[in-house]
Symmetry: D3
């Protein structure tokens, strides 16, 4: 009997979509205004989903205070008020699309959360554009 | 390694729930005030979910500008500010319940999006009533 | 010492924007797709604001159950799942723009709420378009 | 061909997280401020998801008026404006965590909804903390 | 030239509406299920509005970090996860209606914010019921 | 008899809060992580409020299509997917705080909207931080 628990968090960051091996024309064609060399930015909303059995003593699947602290320590403190392209190691060589940011966050949290729990990341880049990744 | 990408869109339409083979009493009993012969209407919120691998060059699963344009061209331009019962071919002989609208939109977009991507439609008729369809 | 209290409600209706004294061309030019002769529709969100002193016995400005019932009885039961143009007396000769709907609702509720309270109506036609009227 | 239909509902309740077999220190350590002996409370948002085939006559998977009434009669009338620990049988011996509340609601509704439909409960304790249970 | 700045915060609390000088019947009649002697609870959303001139050096009306800290220190740390009737001095003899809670919070913050700034409190008890108080 | 009409719009931008006449230490102390030299970013939500009489012919205060186009042409096309500090003339010498952005947008739109209408700008920098300016 498994239950999913979700925790939301937020961070605000600048980014630029760019392929260093492509010409400016090709970058412009593919990424449009997201290719602005001076960057633009977003309020990213993050949902972390952890699935597992309910602990009979606590009634918790996963202590939300611990999950909140993991997200803060390993994800939002790292990305909040940062330029993803310039200020982080993770996106030095990875294009910071919503898809890639979700995979990076999943990889970070997967290390910190016991494998007996399933993990899914949902990331909202805007209210109308969002992505989800569960490691498969 | 697959990632889901979601795009939201909106349209405003009038509709009436009605079974032409039933008496007015039966229609009234089953559909209640949704059977009003002069129609009522909704702000429909549409979420389109496309699942596939991340393209290593772009970092995209599916270009959101292309997805946005597909939704606009084939769905919202067709249904927005329309009477679903009177102004569209799709609901001439299909009752425009939220369920049927979701299936119709799924069928329209399934034609336009490569089969290597999974497709799911979520449609909000109101904030409290919504449906989801993935072709299975 | 005055406090404002707000109550939200909802109704779903069909409507058409149209000026009977204008040509079809003029109506089309001014009202665009809102002029569709077969109607379209909206989920209207209504906020009713009542301002007055706090009753020292109850701690209420205005009993929310009474306000909720007034809105239901005189506004949403009248307009919900209706065609504003065809099914209501109020819009037989008044174009059902958001502005006019707000004024009509204000006039209805102003009759039912003691004049010692200020009254304001906010009406959302969509998430992005809304209006407000306070009788002045 | 199956479609999921969702219905949202709300209830407001007080609760306290507590393990009667633990010391006050252990309860405080595990449940923190949620262990306040005088209780605190939440606006719970409930989403009920029912999955099944579309009825060809009605175009419905499940009549939303019936689903709304089932939720009201068996869930929100029972829990709304209640103290979950003191006023309900369900949480006399069960810690009212979001996880356990979701399981309790699922068990209640599973009895009332034909087994040919899949059932999932999502429960928001706050905008940032929520859980989901589908019986597996 | 004045600009308004707003900061949102949240707290979760239990409360009971009750007039100690009234009979149980009168309390039940006026406050209905909000009179439950075992309490119920809410997720309160608080918006604090501060109006003043823009500081030409900072471009700020009021430093949001300072406002956030004032709200946390003097309001949400005091009320979050508390029983308003039993755990706070403010509501020992004041009925904790949304109106009275807004006035109490306004009085607390008015002491901490320079009188050259106008102050308004908006408090959401539920998504559908909220109040606003500006000291007049 | 005046009615207020509101139109929402969105733009995503990068910015940095910085006072060029201050030391790095002073900038860091005042602006904190918002002073990141590599910028961060936001999804800005903009609400434009226009107040005036209802036109008796159209039932409109102000044609929403025209207001939508004014906002797009003069505001969001200018700021969307831009670095406010580097890519715009308006913030070359003005610190792009939410307060200053709201004043800049108000000044831009005030030029384009007849003075017989009152104008107010509300700008959300995040869901929890927002500002409002009406020219007074």
């Amino acid at each position: 009997m498994k239950v999913a628990v979700f925790r939301k968090a937020h961070f605000n960051a600048a980014h630029r979509l760019h392929h260093p091996g492509w010409s400016e024309e090709k970058n412009e064609e593919v990424f449009g205004k997201c290719n602005n060399p001076n960057f633009h930015g977003h309020n990213y909303d993050l949902e972390v989903k952890v699935v597992g059995p309910i602990d009979p003593d606590t009634g918790y699947v996963f202590d939300m205070k611990i999950l909140k602290d993991l997200i803060k320590h390993y994800v939002t403190d790292k990305f909040d008020h940062k330029n993803l392209n310039l200020d982080t190691d993770e996106f030095k060589n990875v294009n910071p699309t919503a898809e890639n940011i979700a995979v990076v966050i999943w990889n970070i949290l997967r290390e910190k959360i016991d494998k007996k729990y399933d993990l899914t990341i949902r990331l909202y880049e805007t209210e109308r554009n969002f992505v989800e990744y569960n490691g498969n």
